[in-house]
């Protein structure tokens, strides 16, 4: 999904604000949200990919202006409502006011997992190109590497394919790789010299270069 969460390389966000001696939680409500997320995911009501995808579907202004725990709260409540554990009405009645959730647009044609995904097709040193695909469904392939050429630097083992985990609630293992991209390949003439970014990508995001 090409949503607002895909921030790599975007400009205009200004300086990174740093808070010295920051506590783990700034407010008691952040602690409650953290515990709620861990409890819900441990309970098997939804999986971590579905939780992530719920946050990605948030209204873009809500996503960008909300803190990390604001996003977590919205994401986990969305997941609970979609799984039928709570209703938005229950949440709002208890909260005494609006409790915004992420919308859930209908998706067509979510593809099957690639065959033989658990068999590694690439090895360190291999040149690969990332698919140019821009899926409307959940993906962990960031826009800034799509269509770009890199080198496999490590095989990272099998992980459940994210879009299958989200949209079918099934775990299908697929090989993942660390793929290194030179700065110039990603940013062209704007790249800083002597820099690269290594991104962890699923096998089905990659083609031999």
């Amino acid at each position: 999904m090409d949503a607002i969460h895909d921030l790599g390389g975007k400009q205009g966000f200004g300086t990174v604000a740093i808070e010295p001696a920051e506590p783990v939680f700034h407010e008691p409500w952040e602690r409650s949200v953290f515990v709620a997320v861990l409890g819900v995911l441990r309970g098997g009501i939804g999986n971590n990919s579905q939780f992530r995808h719920a946050m990605e579907r948030m209204d873009p202004v809500h996503y960008l202006s909300g803190s990390y725990f604001e996003k977590w709260m919205t994401g986990i409540a969305t997941l609970l409502a979609e799984k039928g554990v709570v209703t938005q009405e229950e949440l709002e009645a208890r909260a005494g006011g609006p409790f915004p959730l992420a919308p859930n647009p209908e998706l067509k044609d979510v593809p099957d997992p690639a065959p033989d995904g658990d068999t590694a097709r690439f090895a360190p040193g291999d040149a690969v190109v990332v698919t140019k695909d821009r899926p409307s469904w959940h993906t962990r392939c960031p826009e800034y590497v799509r269509g770009r050429r890199g080198e496999v630097v490590a095989v990272r083992g099998t992980v459940a394919v994210p879009h299958i985990e989200v949209h079918r609630n099934e775990r299908t293992p697929e090989q993942t790789y660390s793929v290194r991209f030179e700065g110039s390949e990603l940013w062209g003439s704007a790249a800083e010299p002597g820099t690269s970014t290594t991104v962890d990508l699923f096998q089905s995001y990659l083609e031999a270069a």
């Binding site: 969460h5 709620a36 962890d200």
Partner: protein, 201 residues
């Protein structure tokens, strides 16, 4: 909201009651539905407020500095090596990337805020900010300098975007004056920022 609300905002995000009210509602409903128990709440809070944090990663790093065999194991399988010291749990499928005289490593998660919880605890706000997530891949040298971490021009910068299941820990180089110090003394010198890669020791 329409464009003519008179405030120049046609889309200010959805209306929301205060977060403390929403969080309380969520928690209460989950307790009622027996998804959360008091015991679980206490365990999680104690774990993430007291037991996991950068002091864990510092022990891993200090041990790697003094013990070449442990260092080799850490680089080969960070998850197992951290578990040897008792550090494991969610977000704990880990890899270590080594800084050298020629290479400086730094970690980001552009798509969300993945972070190696068992060795670093929960991430600081800056790590989770849109600005850090957006800029670290495009302009790592400039952003690191802005954050007070000046990487010499002849040192290559490798950014690691943790977009799948691995969580990355940077193994910093020991600071000047580390020679002859004990593992415990060395652990005191290791900062969170050096293990994310936004500082050099």
């Amino acid at each position: 909201m329409s464009e003519h609300d008179g405030h120049g905002h046609d889309h200010a995000g959805p209306a929301a009651s205060p977060p403390e009210q929403r969080a309380a509602a969520l928690e209460a409903l989950l307790i009622e539905k027996e998804i959360l128990t008091e015991g679980f709440i206490d365990t999680v809070v104690t774990t993430y407020e007291s037991r996991v944090g950068p002091m864990n990663g510092a022990k891993v790093v200090a041990k790697a500095w003094v013990d070449p065999e442990y260092r080799a194991k850490l680089v080969e399988d960070a998850t197992a090596a951290a578990a040897e010291l008792g550090f494991k749990g969610p977000q704990g499928n880990m890899a270590v990337v080594e800084n050298t005289d020629e290479v400086h490593n730094v970690v980001v998660c552009t798509l969300c805020s993945c972070y190696p919880w068992p060795v670093l605890g929960l991430p600081p706000a800056w790590y989770k900010s849109p600005s850090y997530r957006a800029r670290m891949v495009r302009e790592p040298r400039a952003l690191l300098a802005e954050m007070g971490c000046h990487v010499p021009d002849d040192v290559e910068i490798r950014v690691w975007d943790s977009s799948a299941d691995k969580r990355y820990l940077v193994l910093p180089q020991p600071p000047a004056g580390a020679e002859g110090k004990s593992e415990e003394e060395l652990a005191e010198l290791v900062t969170r920022d050096s293990m994310v890669g936004v500082a050099r020791l």
